[in-house]
Amino acid sequence: MALSGMRGLSVFISDIRNCQNKEQERLRVDKELGNVRTRFKNEKGLTPYEKKKYVWKMLYIYMLGYDVDFGHMEAVSLISAPKYPEKQVGYIVTSCLLNENHDFLRLAINTVRTDIIGRNETFQCLALTMVGNIGGREFAESLAPDVQKLLISSSCRPLVRKKAALCLLRLYRKNPDVVNVDGWADRMAQLLDERDLGVLTSSMSLLVALVSNDHDSYWSCLPKCVKILKHLARNQDIPQEYTYYGIPSPWLQVKTMRALQYFPTIEDPTTRRSLFEVLQRILMGTDVVKNVNKNNASHAVLFEALALVMHLDAEKEMMSQCVALLGKFIAVREPNIRYLGLENMTRMLMVTDVQDIIKRHQAQIITSLKDPDISIRRRALDLLYGMCDVSNAKDIVEELLQYLSTAEFAMREELSLKAAILAEKFAPDLSWYVDVILQLIDKAGDFVSDDIWFRVVQFVTNNEDLQSYAAIKAREYLDKPAIHETMVKVSAYLLGEFGHLLARRPGYSAKELFKIIHEKLPAVSTSTIPILLSTYAKILMHTQPPDQELQNQIWGIFNKYESCIDVEIQQRAVEYLALSKKGAALVDILAEMPKFPERQSALIKKAEDTEADTAEQSAIKLRAQQQSSNALVLTDQRPVNGTPSSNQLTLVKVPTTSSYPDSTDQELSQTNGTLNKVDSSFPAPDLLGDLLGPLAIEGPPSFTAPASQNMTAEVDGFPNAVEAGAIVPVGKQANSVQPIGNISERFLALCMKDSGVLYEDPYIQIGIKAEWRAHLGRLVLFLGNKNTSPLVSVKATILPPSNLKMELSLVPETIPPRAQVQCPLEIINLHPSRDVAVLDFSYKFGNDLVNVKLRLPAVFNKFLQPISISAEEFFPQWRSLSGPPLKLQEVVRGVKPLLLLEMANLFNSLRLMVCPGLDPNPNNLVASTTFYSESTQAMLCLVRIETDPADRTQLRMTVASGDPTVTFELKEFIKEQLISIPAPQPPTPPSAAPPVGHPMVTTPPAFTDPGAMLAGLL
């Protein structure tokens, strides 16, 4: 079929097709390019038809993979042609040849705008299509309002509006800050009433993008989506042309269900019920049919329905129905369905309570690991990795190891990494872990990174009962004829360190070990030789009294390498030789390696990092995040930190008490049963797993201050309750006296400043004045009797958290009428923690016994000292604190929206000194401060906040300091502040914050009149 009227182009295409080889093709293309270039040069003589023809030729040549570096201007200029045929070519070729950053594109903006706001709808379509495909920032800036107008215009025909919807989607997706969608919720809701399914499909795509960014504004769209879905599923009013193989627009169904997945939940029971009816119908009513397209379309809908059911946390019955369906899918022959079954089963793992049902399919999944299709094998691997836990780790890891020998190269790296991670995370016993890693090195040495074998060495070094076992294993592998070089490294290291433990066994004498290791030396690379030399030195050291023959042999080797060109080898050879001649000193210097400090596994970290990288705006991921943030508020979420050893292998058998403060609190609050909120400072379980788990960091200081533990027990979890902002009645003696003002707000205000009222009721006012210096603090309580009769049985006890040492001076039992008593309270900050001290205060007035528990504003930020830091100081520090646990990063969502200036003020009032100008990005904020405690002394802390001007409810925070606990606590502290900023409290100007330089006020003027006292305090 020849091109109508464009003979030249057809001829050119035929010529290309007739080329015998690549060279001929290139010659033909070059000739054509030369021709086009000359024709464009004397542009005057070109007819529109010729221009069109040449521009098409350019696109064709570009498509063939040749560089076309001219003529872009001609393509763009066709856009402004008055006639449709030229304009059409101009738009299409431009959108293929140029990308959004191209300068020429800017030249076209005005023409494009004229076309969009003009009356010619065919021109509008062309312009919208191009902007929708390649429109960049400048297009968004100048066109977005016009496009929005077209989308909602009642006079535009559907063909224009559906394009406008997707064009807007593009502009919004690329530049959410430029496109103003405030108040669009109503518009979107109206658009969802659209009867034209083309417009509706496009609008639904737009809605998906909008709700994925901000679902809160679009609640009104939710019931409409359910309605659309209902109509589609029941095939009501769906024009014939919109059914696809008998299925009412499967695409629209999928999109609608996608949009619904961005809403965290559906609260309205009627909507929920009718949605579940539809979903149930889809789940049950999808049959496998002969026609492949019908099958695909109906299963596209079915899989989306499954995803939505998972998202909505349906009843258990429906969930098990889903798992049953997926179980069926992973066993079918049709590869697409099997692939999707595995993929969705992996997603299903995030749903609680179904893991056990999924585990029943383990055998079937393992079969898929041997499928001829790599895509399916990948899914199976992912699923096995995700479903692995302590109970099935042995089976799964062994299966992975077995598969490793036959797997293609493309998968080996991933496989071995996953096997290593699972072995480390879920090892039922450590010798098994050693077995697995050694097998891994044996089977896929090329893919075993240094991290993996370093890790096994750390484990063996830190666990004495493992050492001789590992040495025997190493020896066994060395007996094999051909082993991987990594295996030589591990074995040599292990035998050098621990071979002497087995010296009495046959075949393990120093001589024999040396011989078998030394056999490998000629074949290894320079990176392994230093390890072997160290091993020799160790062997020599362990041979006491020295065996003359062995010694001579090893000295000979050292001698030989003394002149080695590799510096590392040379240095070791020289040093070992010199040392080994020193006799006894050798024993000291080459003594066994000390235990390694606990640290987070580089592997697990790597795995977590890659997971974080891919955290985009997928509905499923969002859901995962929502789940973990739920953990902050819900009490029924059992924290994992209580049983860290079960899901992460303990490097050294550390008592799990390191995380006791949290777990005790948690337990108390649960057994006590009076609480409906858990301490909001409670980090999400995954964080705990990371940071407090014994593997994670060098065990968070496990000060087990028994006194405070008892205290905590006494208060029965009160700190939590107080945190929730309530006065807690003690026993049956309900407080009949109501406080004046909001206690919680007063406390929050005092967190930001140093004097004010802590509590007030009709009889008493408790004021506070505080002074802070480094890790010390002095807080004076002003107890003022507001009445004309005395307050009796006054009692004040401090319930300090474990991190604070607090001493309250004696509180008199009686406060005379209209008198004020001052009680100084000395505070020492022992170590970093955000735990809050509580003042248990009670008094009697007449027959009323009043008892309140008040949080004291001796909080984390009081021990901060703002410090200004210059760029020269900041960057080296920032870089030297390179990563967790010293530097932590987190994306915080649900932040109270603040302007940057407001946030800077907040930070300053928290004693985090904002350092302007350090970060080149004006949307970021850098702050520095010093944290003081007895254990850490002065600790410089650096904070960086990266805000998103388009979405002020989220930001990324990076906190760094020289101490892992400080970093973590500070990060959590800032997070709490950002998420719940006390609204009525305008941040205090920074100058008021630093208490340095002020003398310690020990005896503030006494007030006798409550009114005067108030004035003095405020």
């Binding site: 063939l64 449709y84 959004e100 042309e241 379309a297 697409n336 299709d373």
Partner: protein, 181 residues
């Protein structure tokens, strides 16, 4: 969303490409963008070429009767072979694969209806038509129209616009020719 559309022949010749993701600098953190990209036109071209080479290598080497999805650089390619042509759409990991697979079929059906049992040659010589039709189907990497009838109607309207313009042009040139006789 659909990142790009790729039509390749069994020999690996490109028959159509359409990109919906602008691969700008700031998005380079994604796996896909580890590939070199220079911001210039030729840099972009070499980036595209590399993408196509990698992807077509993977797809063309797949045995028949495997599934229609290939995971690639953090993205997913959904492909289907029709006679000698492979249609391939590259999407995000979490997109609905089957939906995309049927977009391919939908496109093929529309092409088939337009050309009357379409073959590779039709698409080679009328590659511009394939672009027009694709533009009526997808914008911004999303499906804009799922009715074959509507797409056919719109394409026919475009064709007639072009036809009319041509007739006008030729009648004008006839008048000019006669006047200058």
């Amino acid at each position: 969303m659909i990142h790009f559309v790729l039509l390749i022949s069994r020999q690996g010749k490109v028959r159509l490409t359409k990109w919906y993701s602008p691969y700008s600098q700031k998005e380079r953190s994604k796996d896909l963008l580890d590939l070199p990209y220079y911001g210039t036109c030729s840099g972009l071209l070499s980036f595209f070429k590399k993408v196509m080479r990698e992807l077509s290598g993977m797809i063309l080497n797949r045995a028949p009767k495997l599934c229609n999805f290939v995971e690639w650089r953090g993205l997913k390619a959904v492909y289907k072979r029709y006679a000698s042509l492979y249609f391939c759409l590259c999407i995000d990991q979490e997109d609905n694969e089957l939906e995309i697979l049927e977009i391919i079929h939908h496109y093929v059906e529309i092409l088939d209806r337009y050309f009357g049992s379409v073959c590779e040659l039709d698409l080679i010589f009328n590659f511009h038509k394939a672009y027009y039709i694709l533009d009526e189907l997808l914008i911004a990497g999303e499906l804009q129209e799922s009715s074959k009838k509507t797409v056919a109607r719109l394409i026919a309207a475009q064709d007639s616009l072009v036809e009319t313009a041509k007739e006008q042009a030729s009648s004008i040139s006839n008048i000019i020719a006669q006047a200058t006789k």
